[in-house]
């Protein structure tokens, strides 16, 4: 029949046209405030400071070494080192940031601060709903706003967080073993040092003792 091919083609076009309104897999719109696209694990937005335990101020891993401040390409980090020290996760007394500000209006999410941090203290967050009407008040985050728990880190980047935890646990075990070894060595040394002292003491005391003993 004349025009059969055209009709077939038009039917195909019509099917596609109608299908784009009804078939579920072709309705691509994500109704944003209600629905969200699940973030992939490598999603990153702005840095946050990791803390262990319940208290953000006591458990903060950052020791204010200021490497991230120096390495930050757009210079959006501002750190003031503390004067006193507080014990860190390993029990060693460390400095802590008396002030840690990130101007997220300048941050370019390059992750260099995360890569250079030797203490696993700064990580990338996935929070993106940060629109503010005031530029200087709302977009400058201080350390309280930046502090987020290790559990939060586990929730947003599970694989990476598990690796970090394993590494930190290994380091802690090593330092514990070292401390134990050092303590043992010190004890042995003290014992070794004490022995001659005792023997000399004994030797010194011997004449008197020898006199008394028999």
């Amino acid at each position: 029949m004349l025009g059969e091919g055209i009709l077939k083609g038009l039917a195909e076009t019509a099917k596609n046209f109608v299908g784009s309104f009804v078939s579920a897999e072709r309705l691509t719109t994500v109704q944003y405030p209600e629905q969200r696209i699940a973030p992939i694990e490598a999603t990153r937005d702005f840095p946050f400071l990791v803390y262990d335990g319940a208290d953000w101020e006591a458990g903060m891993r950052c020791v204010a070494c200021q490497i991230c401040e120096k390495e930050c390409p757009p210079k959006c980090i501002y750190i003031v080192k503390s004067i006193d020290k507080k014990p860190d996760a390993l029990g060693k007394p460390q400095f802590y940031p008396a002030r840690f500000d990130i101007d997220i209006s300048v941050c370019m999410s390059c992750q260099i601060c995360v890569e250079v941090c030797p203490f696993e203290a700064i990580k990338m967050d996935t929070e993106f709903e940060l629109s503010r009407t005031d530029r200087f008040g709302g977009l400058l985050f201080d350390r309280e706003e930046l502090a987020k728990s290790n559990e939060h880190y586990h929730k947003i980047h599970p694989t990476e967080a598990a690796q970090v935890d394993a590494r930190l646990a290994g380091e802690k075990a090593k330092s514990d073993a070292k401390a134990k070894g050092a303590a043992l060595a010190a004890a042995a040394k003290a014992a070794a040092a004490a022995k001659p002292a005792v023997s000399t003491e004994n030797a010194a005391a011997k004449p008197e003792g020898a006199e008394i003993k028999p």
Binding site: T28, V30, S105, M108, E129, L130, S131, T133
Partner: protein, 203 residues
Amino acid sequence: MVDEGLKIELGKQGVFVTTIEELYNWGRRSSIWPMQFGLACCAIEMIATTMARYDIARFGAEVFRPSPRQADMMIISGTVTKRMAPQVVRLYNQMAEPKYVIAMGACAISGGPFKQGYNVLKGIDRYIPVDVHIPGCPPRPEALLQAFMTLQKKIDGQHLTGEGRPRHLDAEAQGEFPVPVPGEHDLEPASNPGVWTAPVVIR
């Protein structure tokens, strides 16, 4: 003013109660047409926001106008170089009131990674009033939608009279913003003191 609970109760009975202010603000916020204007890489995210996946049409802002005379909102999407800044201010001046500005991305807010450079403006808020700032490099399309909702909330909260009323209802408010000109070393003036003052840093 009608009590909120009473209004809902009346709504159930089929009586619609509103105020001029609410109606006016509803009209203002429900069809904010952006200007078709992109400056750098953030523009790609802005384009993505208009497409089917994110669909800014759900908020009544899908009609990107090619002329500032027909636009209500300017999305400063990207780096504003000092060469481009006078044009941005001029386009803003040509827009009809009520008009809004969203600064999208680190460069538009503060200069971002180019902040230390000689040729990039350290934030468009030096010359024109910015309503919403979106941090990010670049922000996700959802972040732009969220900023859009923030802007709508801001419009909804404005009263038509008294302090903090919209600029176009305020006869004293600055209407036209001076366009900077390239000077010998920098743009002149370096900022518009009417809209921007250097922040006081407390350290």
